[in-house]
């Protein structure tokens, strides 16, 4: 079965990078399809629902300047804004904001679904179709063929995703969502050099069981500084985050259970990004450090789910519960979901030109995670970049390239 439309651009995956690529391609007049496993998870943030930070904030603003979408969406859904490095020069000041996770997702979906030239298609891409070395479209797992002149792969942690919690492991792209197994096979079948990466997330806490008096309050800025140049002011109610610390008792629990950690038992083969070390990594590698910082970040206005930033872990569930409860203020905390590590395939970035197009297949491009650039917050920059280069003949700038390691932190 073939779709009636011949698309100019097909984007696979609707995370930060996919949303930007699809939005910009559509906005500059390309007939665009955004293919996602689940339309409800468009703009879903699997890690903490934060945007920006040092260096990343710059990128979000650049994406905004290039006509991207995320700056406006975070301005519309952020619940805590802070401009970092205020005491330093303007070149290194960076905006950071936390979103209401659900609001962000629905706002992103709302805006994309009303974007002209953009079709949102629900389905699992099973294969990249091509003739000779030129991409021609994608095939969904139900056999549907979507034809397109170019394909942008923004698959995040989904390619051959494998989640680890303690000694348990199972295939998944992220918690509760299936991995892309067939697509991963197809990518390897084309002959791309691939490898495995690993990233992780902390357990989610029930905010009603936290003793906030043991934590230090971290309010947002009095006057939020927006990301987007189109946003004038942000008047939404701002909420507080909280700062606390682990302690030696926490570290002891982790040390005593390292044999049950997939990271240290050898179950996990993938390399972790250095900016996102798990708490077990921190305890082992920086054993002289007696405490590690934790930020408690509420996930939204209407939820009591709290994200404990700083204790990403893949220890067994019962170990997670044990060490979290050794943290001052979390003695009686209830875990809503355990943290986990996820391993996934990436394509060797040397397979790409600086325009992010693959060298093997003309018209096929890849984004951050899929090419070993595992830092969520810079993917949109690559997404919008690719969308722009795809249509570069329409732009004054004939060629936009990533120039060197301009993103120097995660």
């Amino acid at each position: 079965m073939k779709s009636a439309t011949l698309f100019d651009v097909i984007v696979i995956g609707a995370g930060h990078a996919g949303c930007e690529a699809a939005y910009i391609a559509a906005r500059i007049g390309a007939a665009t399809a955004l293919v996602t496993l689940d339309t409800n998870s468009i703009g879903q943030m699997s890690c903490n629902p934060a945007i920006g930070g040092i260096a990343k904030g710059h990128l979000v603003r650049e994406v905004d300047a290039l006509g991207g979408i995320m700056g406006e969406v975070i301005d519309a859904t952020g619940i805590q804004f802070r401009l970092l490095n205020r005491s330093r020069g303007p070149a290194v000041q960076s905006p950071r904001a936390q979103a209401d996770r659900n609001l962000y997702r629905s706002e992103m979906r709302r805006r994309l679904s009303t974007t002209q030239n953009l079709s949102i298609i629900e389905g699992e891409v099973a294969a990249i179709k091509f003739t000779g070395t030129r991409v021609t479209g994608v095939e969904l797992s139900d056999g549907t063929i979507i034809e397109g002149r170019s394909v942008v792969l923004t698959t995040g942690t989904f390619l051959n995703g494998l989640i680890h919690v303690g000694k348990k492991s199972f295939q998944a792209g992220r918690s509760g969502e299936p991995a892309s197994i067939k697509l991963a096979e197809c990518i390897r079948g084309i002959g791309f050099k691939t490898g495995r990466l690993k990233t992780g997330t902390p357990p989610r806490l029930d905010g009603r069981t936290i003793d906030y008096s043991k934590f230090e309050r971290q309010p947002g800025d009095e006057r939020p500084v927006p990301f987007s140049f189109k946003t004038d002011t942000i008047d939404r109610k701002q909420i507080d985050c909280f700062i606390g610390y682990t302690n030696e008792a926490v570290h002891d629990v982790i040390r005593n259970n390292l044999d049950k950690s997939p990271l240290y038992s050898g179950d996990i083969k993938g390399v972790g990004p250095r900016y996102c070390p798990s708490i077990e990594d921190k305890v082992v590698k920086f054993s002289q450090k007696l405490r590690h910082q934790i930020f408690l970040e509420p996930e939204g206005y209407q939820t009591y789910e709290v994200y404990p930033n700083g204790i990403s872990t893949s220890m067994a569930e019962e170990v997670q519960q044990e060490f979290v409860r050794k943290i001052a203020g979390l003695e009686n905390v209830k875990l809503l979901r355990p943290g986990y590590a996820v391993e996934y395939d990436f394509v060797d970035p040397r397979e790409l030109f600086a325009t992010l197009e693959t060298k093997r297949v003309a018209g096929l491009s890849m984004q951050a995670r899929s090419t070993a650039h595992p830092a969520t917050k810079k993917q949109p920059a690559r997404g919008s970049l690719r969308a722009l280069t795809l249509r570069s003949h329409r732009l004054v700038a004939r060629r936009l390239c990533l120039t060197g390691p301009r993103v120097i932190s995660a």
Binding site: N48, G53, I54, A55, L84, N85, R88, G89, A91, V92, R96, Y245, R274, Y275, C276, P277, K282, K285, F286, K289, H292, Q293, F295, N309, G310, S312, P405, I408, S409, A410
Partner: protein, 462 residues
């Protein structure tokens, strides 16, 4: 990182000799060598570091081209870091050309000038300073030059620079972290601590840079002008120093009309000696042109050797000459074999004319006495303060010296900015500039190396 292709070149100098060596480097080196050689024992060649007797045979005709010694160096334990095969043929250009042609026909490519060393650098077998030293060793014209270059080849310059670079990276890591990771619970060192480290690095670099004042002479040589009044024996001193009767010597004043140049070495340092026309007032047109040239030679020379005739009282023209020659001069009292009228303090009836006893040497160009002392004095004058540490590493290359000077400049800027409590990112610009300058000597420090250091110094990330 390794190259895909295999390069080949004749590594011995052109012409005939006992042995001529052809070198192959690259992934196909062994296979190519195997394809053209036939072993006496018939065994495979793949045993490393073993010299083997082989017959190079043209596979097309079966004809034996030469009997050779073939040595295989297995990657990474070779000069280039790749598979290397050296074929020692008989030193006939005809045979070497033929064997070279054979390996080129079998997939090797002719090496670009310096490409073996480039590959060694590329594969991190040697750093930039060492690569440069390879050239200096090959080009050395004196034992002393060879000794200095051999030290650099051994990596001594890099060994001196590496800890300084490490400290610099450490400072960068702390400043960079305090800009980049404000949200992380890290405690970078305070400015005062960093300032101390910065001063230490700068001082050590200044010491290295200063070694160039002598080092450049070692590499490039120096000009020594022999000057004096007519008939004090300049040309005899000149001839004595070069060890041959190059300049015409007569008892007639003004024999040397034009400046005469000759190269030799003094204590292993190359020197260009300049014999000049005697300086006096004259109405002879040719002689006066020669005297003008003498003055130009004095101005251009690194050192002037002023010759005085010790058997005569000091002449007004001697004193005028001494006044006009820069302080770097050395004064030689020639004709010490005759009864002397002036002593080392240049005393005569009119008084003492030099306070610097150390710049005066007593010699006799006729007998050769005192010349050892003269060359020692010249060497000391060249090496200056470096004399005491002559065996220490020294910069011999202008490019290297410029890079170190540039780094010193950037570091002192950085110190100034840090003292004024300027923003870290501004200070970092200077520090990164300094690091890049040092990188020109030893190879680059990549951004990724700095990041790696940040992540291993601090527990960063959430």
């Amino acid at each position: 990182m390794y190259s895909d292709d295999t390069i080949a070149a004749i590594s011995t100098p052109p012409g005939r000799g006992g042995i001529g060596v052809l070198r192959l480097s690259g992934p196909a080196a062994l296979q190519i060598a195997t394809s053209i050689s036939r072993s006496e024992s018939g065994g495979p060649l793949n045993k490393a570091n073993l010299a083997r007797f082989e017959k190079v045979t043209d596979p097309a005709t079966g004809e034996i081209v030469d009997e050779v010694i073939l040595t295989y160096f297995k990657t990474p334990h070779s000069y280039t870091g790749e598979d290397v095969v050296e074929i020692s043929c008989h030193g006939s250009p005809i045979i070497l050309e033929r064997v070279l042609r054979m390996v080129l026909d079998r997939g090797a490519r002719i090496a670009e000038p310096g490409e073996f060393t480039f590959r060694a650098f590329f594969n991190k077998r040697i750093d930039l300073a060492q690569a440069q030293a390879v050239r200096d060793v090959i080009n050395a014209q004196t034992q002393y030059q060879a000794r200095v270059a051999a030290k650099q080849l051994g990596g001594e310059l890099s060994a001196r620079l590496t800890p300084l670079k490490d400290t610099l990276v450490e400072i960068i890591v702390h400043l960079e972290s305090s800009v980049e990771f404000v949200e992380d619970d890290i405690s970078p060192e305070v400015a005062s601590t960093l300032l101390v480290k910065l001063s230490d690095v700068t001082e050590a670099l200044i010491e290295i840079a200063d070694s160039f004042s002598f080092g450049r002479y070692v590499k490039e040589g120096f000009d020594l002008a022999i000057v004096g009044r007519p008939n004090v024996g300049k040309s005899s001193v000149f001839n004595r120093l070069i060890g041959s009767d190059r300049a015409i010597v007569t008892e007639l004043p003004g024999t040397t009309r034009d400046a005469l140049y000759e190269s030799t070495s003094i204590s292993g340092v190359p020197v260009r000696l300049i014999d000049t026309a005697g300086i006096r007032e004259t109405i002879d047109r040719v002689e006066s042109i020669g005297i003008t040239r003498s003055r130009a030679a004095i101005a251009d020379a690194d050192i002037s050797l002023v010759i005085l005739d010790a058997s005569l009282p000091l002449h007004r023209e001697d004193l005028e000459l001494l006044d006009s020659v820069p302080e770097t001069r050395i004064i030689a009292l020639n004709k010490s074999d005759l009864p002397n009228l002036i002593d080392e303090r240049l005393c005569d009836d009119t008084g003492t004319h030099s306070g610097q006893l150390d710049s005066v040497v007593r010699i006799s160009a006729l007998t050769g006495s005192g010349f050892e002392g003269l060359t020692t004095r010249i060497f000391e004058r060249l090496s200056g303060d470096a004399a005491a540490e002559r065996d220490d590493i020294m910069l011999t290359d202008a490019r290297q010296h410029a890079a170190v000077r540039k780094a010193i400049g950037q570091l002192s800027d950085a110190r100034g900015l840090l003292e004024q409590r300027e923003l870290e990112e501004i200070v970092l610009l200077k520090l990164r500039g300094a690091l890049a300058s040092l990188g020109e000597l030893t190879g680059e420090t990549l951004n990724d190396d700095i990041l790696g250091q940040i992540f291993s110094t601090f527990c960063i990330g959430k």
